[in-house]
């Protein structure tokens, strides 16, 4: 597929015409509204658009790629638009990719931005499965976009925030250069520096399987390190708990990752990578109003939630249902944190503590809302 892509890059000496642009590796770059330099959360609702040439981090990528490759177009879409209008975004971006017909797609890097990671992964899936275009991207391993879409792109591992751009860009360039050098036939994740895609490939090994297996077993028996050829996937699933039998007698609690806090954010829960969670009383609170509640979340446009926090944490409706006898009672405390780039380990630790408190308070069911 890439045959001949490199050959026409020579020249430009002694009056010989310069490189034929059309024979460079043609790259399209996918970015969100922020890295696409359109704006912050207030612009997260913009639909996909196509721009000429590289933008934002694309400029650094393009410069380092030199004469081997060129970012011909940048596709930008708002993260909220993408995730809320998935089918429309997919078909629109597919149309754009088809029209440009690139040799390679670069997406992101998305770091630990959840919506952006899912967008990059989805675009990679379209490019790879529907158009046969290979994809290079960068992502933080805990970003759900990696787990969901790892088989569709060569994802380099990045740090959890854009502060890691400086190392993400060279890592991605390394993959692209190797991709060009090897005519699109990249080696294993360890060799090339991308994260495992969960894809098995047939290769010729020096030793036959039986010999390799015995060697591994001997190492295992000796308690030495060995590298398996078939790592088992890690599934961390919890079996569903039995349903509630008698809702009118059930104490229900509200928990959110949407960052709803009393006005002024008394515990200073961070707007991203939250280092704590909050526990706040709902004693006598019938409705979350603008004067007393707001969101601390920095990963979505806060206007709607600040105006009426019930839109994230439905206290008003729960009070009505309590009055109507549909539920036994609403637990008089709610728990909240900001699920924005927060590490899985932290979220897990907060939830374990929250669960202990809920159990101690006799809570029998939980509604957890996420933005």
């Amino acid at each position: 597929m890439l045959e001949g892509k490199k050959t026409a890059i020579l020249g430009d000496r002694d009056g010989i015409p310069g490189p034929d642009m059309s024979n460079k590796l043609k790259i399209v770059h996918y970015l969100n509204q922020f890295f696409g330099q359109i704006g912050g959360e207030d612009k997260a609702g913009i639909p996909p658009r196509r721009e000429d040439g590289p933008i934002g981090p694309g400029a650094a990528l393009n410069n380092s790629l030199g004469e081997d490759a060129e970012i011909v177009n940048t596709i930008i879409c708002g993260d909220t638009f993408f995730n809320e209008n998935l089918e429309e975004s997919k078909s629109e971006i597919k149309k754009m990719l088809k029209a440009i017909n690139p040799d390679l797609l670069i997406a992101g890097p998305a770091f630990n931005a959840g919506r952006y990671g899912v967008a990059c992964g989805t675009v990679a899936e379209i490019a790879k499965t529907e158009l046969g275009i290979d994809v290079v991207s960068g992502i933080y391993p805990e970003n759900p976009g990696y787990e969901m879409f790892k088989q569709y792109a060569y994802f380099v591992e990045t740090s959890d925030s854009a502060a890691g751009m400086r190392s993400a860009i060279p890592d991605m360039i390394k993959i692209v250069k190797s991709y060009i050098d090897k005519n699109g036939e990249l080696g294993s994740p360890e060799e090339e520096g991308y994260m495992p895609r969960g894809i098995r490939k047939n290769i010729f090994a020096e030793e036959r399987g039986a010999a390799r297996a015995i060697k591994m077993m001997l190492k295992k028996l000796e308690g030495e390190d060995f590298e398996t050829e078939y790592p088992m996937p890690v599934f961390d699933r919890v079996d569903p708990v039995d349903p509630i039998k008698d809702m009118p007698k059930t104490k229900v609690a509200l928990v959110t990752s949407g960052g709803i806090v009393p006005k002024g954010n008394p515990d200073h829960i961070e707007s991203s990578s939250a280092s704590k969670y909050g526990e706040y009383s709902l004693e006598g609170v019938m409705d979350l109003d603008e004067e007393n509640y707001e969101t601390a979340h920095g990963g979505y446009d806060p206007v709607c939630a600040n105006k009426d926090a019930d839109r994230v944490l439905p206290v008003d409706v729960m009070r009505d249902l309590e009055k109507e006898g549909v539920i036994g009672e609403l637990h008089n405390k709610f728990y909240t944190t900001v699920g924005n780039g927060t590490s899985v380990a932290n979220a897990k630790a907060y939830a374990q503590e929250i669960a202990e408190n809920l159990l101690a308070d006799g809570v029998q069911a939980v509604i957890l809302t996420s933005t």
Binding site: M148, V238, I244, P302, D310, V312, P314, V317, L321
Partner: protein
């Protein structure tokens, strides 16, 4: 977070806008929400309609909590 609460033995329903993420993190009972900045609201609607919409979603969440399931289940409109 949903997983740890469920692990503690409390049935939990995840009201989430981006359902695929909810699936990936391992929520068992999932109710799709409206939009990322307002999962249980719709600022375009009048106050009464918006509250009714929120009530519908919460009621769906309560139904999910009362439903016996064996695997991850999305309680979307076509099911109820």
């Amino acid at each position: 977070m949903v997983k740890e609460i469920e692990r503690a033995g409390i049935p939990v329903v995840h009201v989430a806008t981006v359902v695929p993420i909810s699936m990936t993190v391992g929520a068992n009972r999932i109710v799709p929400a409206v939009a990322i900045p307002h999962p249980l609201g719709q600022p375009d609607l009048g106050e009464t309609e918006e509250k009714q919409l929120r009530k519908d979603i919460v009621e769906k969440a309560l139904i999910a909590l009362q439903t016996d399931i064996n695997e991850q289940t999305v309680f979307s409109d076509d099911k109820e």
